[in-house]
Amino acid sequence: MCAKAILKEPTIPVKDYDRDLLIELYRKMVSIRLFEQKVEHHFLAGDIPGFVHLYIGEEGIGTGVMANLTKEDYIESTHRGHGHTIAKGADLNRMMAEIFGKKTGYCKGKGGSMHIADFSVGMLGANGIVGGGYTLAVGAALASKLREDGRISVVFFGDGASNRGTFHEALNMAAAWKLPVLFVCENNEWASTTPYLTTTSVADIADRAQGYGIPGYMVDGNDVLSVYETSKEVVDYIRSGNGPVLLECKTYRIKGHFVGDPEKYRTKEEVQEVFDNNNPINRFEEKVLEAGVLSREDLDAVYVEVETAIEEAVRYALESPEPDPSELFDDLYV
């Protein structure tokens, strides 16, 4: 199983999918999309401080992977972590409040966009350091192995992060100890502002699995059903005690590295083309409508429901109090 990366095409016909699952996948993707559109709007309006990094256009990956995890499984996220956090089941109000720097946020306003965590759903934290999550996920998986609790750990990272030394240390340690870790590369083609192929030794990050004697898979990350199917297969493999897997999901970063990035390194046309023709939400809609498993009304109903929830999250964040300066020293030590 540990030869070259395996390219996975979808095999289950759309009509054979459970309707509730399809609705849930759609709900998650739309939640991420609308949540982030609001974040972008309020960042540009000056309501949100710091940096925000958007996941728009990559929703299919977090959604497809997370649909195969339990609440107890662990994930480690990146600085582009809103999507993973929403997909893992975090509360939208508390997320939005954190991004706005409010006291009611997940981190009481001490973390912000790059440092959201929700330990109650196994979301062990976004990470402002590129490649910062690998070894932590390995440790969480080690804890699961020592306790035999059946949980797995998933770490998300980008193509750029796969050049960090921590990637290699983590893959080796996880493989040597057969730890239950899924390494998910979201290859969005941009390492900050640099095209990944100019600084990366392989075209397919999944090929790097060979160096560690573990399976490497590749999927179309903008096809949520492909991601779902493949991650189901690899999650089952990992949960059965076979050790780690590297899964590369091919996608494209629609937004700049951060909101406000002037994006001088690419053309607007290039981005628009991907967004128009290879957008995980549109592709999903076309597929389910064509297969006749969900109707336009079904999709619209979900969309409206999500819209309301996101508006409520923004209202909650705007109306929440800021932390009091006296809270500066809270949580420095236990």
Binding site: E76, Y106, Y134, G139, A143, T166, E169, Y333
Partner: protein, 327 residues
């Protein structure tokens, strides 16, 4: 007086590990050469016999992943102890210590603690030269969120390690390599040495000397004894915890003695001595009858050749001369 037994510093740390691992099955230890070899200084010898090679775990040579995995395991509810082989190797995993281990509790708004211990053998030994001899505590004193301890004797080695393992904060445990084979009286009954509390080793009235770790034994104590012979009554403080520092103990002592000298093996520039001097300058200047004196190693990497290493080492006689100028 409580019953004691004489054991080495190394045995004392082993007893701490044994007691805590028996008590709490979330405690485990990982590092390079610790299970099969028993640790490079023998400080883990026998531990796998009691707890197996899962809980006493040989790692790849991969300090970054060792510390990162300890943080991750702590986030998942364990109480890991990570061994750094040599303290110098902590610099390999700066991100994991500074940005992850130290920050998680604060930046996630107190949602989760990181109850882990990083054991870090440090200090000068056997001409080990620039990359196996450093004293790095000042670097970690500068990072909010970490606790940093450095015992100077077997009793504190055990008591502080037990406290560190039970502490819900991440603790860096510096253990000087030259101390491992030193012997001392250790209580037979279970006890804990509190983190954040300095120890008054000897009371005195003319001069406060603050030191810690091996330097307290091999330099500060001889200096204090020589000073006594010169008629200077020294109050010797063993700092024990580098961060959070016991300001009260230092200020109270200086209020009594009016003079302060700090002695540590780490280089003087940017060292813990500078922090202590600044605290007293800010909050206890009125107590002082003489300028504060700091004694630390010269500002060079640790050299290899014997005469050079000898020149690098702190000399009690030279420190005594410096101290005499304070009177």
């Amino acid at each position: 007086m409580a019953e004691t037994k004489k054991i080495t510093f190394s045995q004392a740390t082993l007893e701490a590990m044994q007691e805590e691992m028996e008590r709490d099955d979330t405690v485990f230890v990982m590092g390079e050469d610790i299970a099969r070899q028993g640790g490079i200084f023998g400080q883990f010898k026998g531990l796998p016999d009691s707890f197996g090679s899962d809980r006493v775990r040989d790692t790849p040579i991969t300090e970054t992943a060792i510390v990162g995995a300890a943080v991750g395991a702590a986030l998942a509810g364990m109480r890991p102890i990570a061994d750094m082989h040599f303290a110098d190797f902590m610099l390999v995993c700066g991100d994991e210590i500074y940005n992850q281990m130290a920050k998680v509790h604060y930046m996630f708004g107190g949602q989760k603690t990181v109850p882990m211990v990083l054991r870090a053998p440090d200090g000068l030994i056997n001409q080990a030269a620039a990359q196996h001899s450093q004293s790095l505590e000042a670097i970690f004193q500068h990072i909010p969120g970490l606790k940093v301890v450095a015992p100077s004797n077997p009793a504190d080695a055990k008591g502080l390690l037990k406290s560190a393992i039970r502490d819900d904060n991440p603790v860096i445990y510096f253990e000087h390599k030259a101390l491992f084979n030193t012997k001392g009286d250790v209580p037979v009954e279970e006890y804990f040495t509190p983190i954040g509390k300095a120890d008054i080793v000897t009371e005195g009235s003319d001069l406060t000397v603050v030191s810690y770790s091996n330097c307290l034994q091999t330099v500060a104590k001889p200096v204090a004894e020589m000073a006594e012979k010169e008629g200077i009554s020294v109050e010797l403080i063993d700092l024990r915890t580098i961060s959070p520092i016991d300001k009260d103990a230092i200020l109270e002592s200086v209020a009594k003695t009016s003079r302060l000298a700090i002695i540590h093996e780490a280089v003087k520039q940017g060292g813990v001595g500078g922090e202590i001097a600044a605290i007293v300058a800010e909050e206890g200047l009125d107590y002082l009858d003489a300028p504060i004196m700091r004694f630390g190693s010269p500002f060079t990497p640790v050299p290899f050749a014997r005469p050079l290493e000898q020149a690098y080492r702190l000399k009690p006689e030279a420190i005594l001369e410096g101290i005499k100028r304070m009177f």
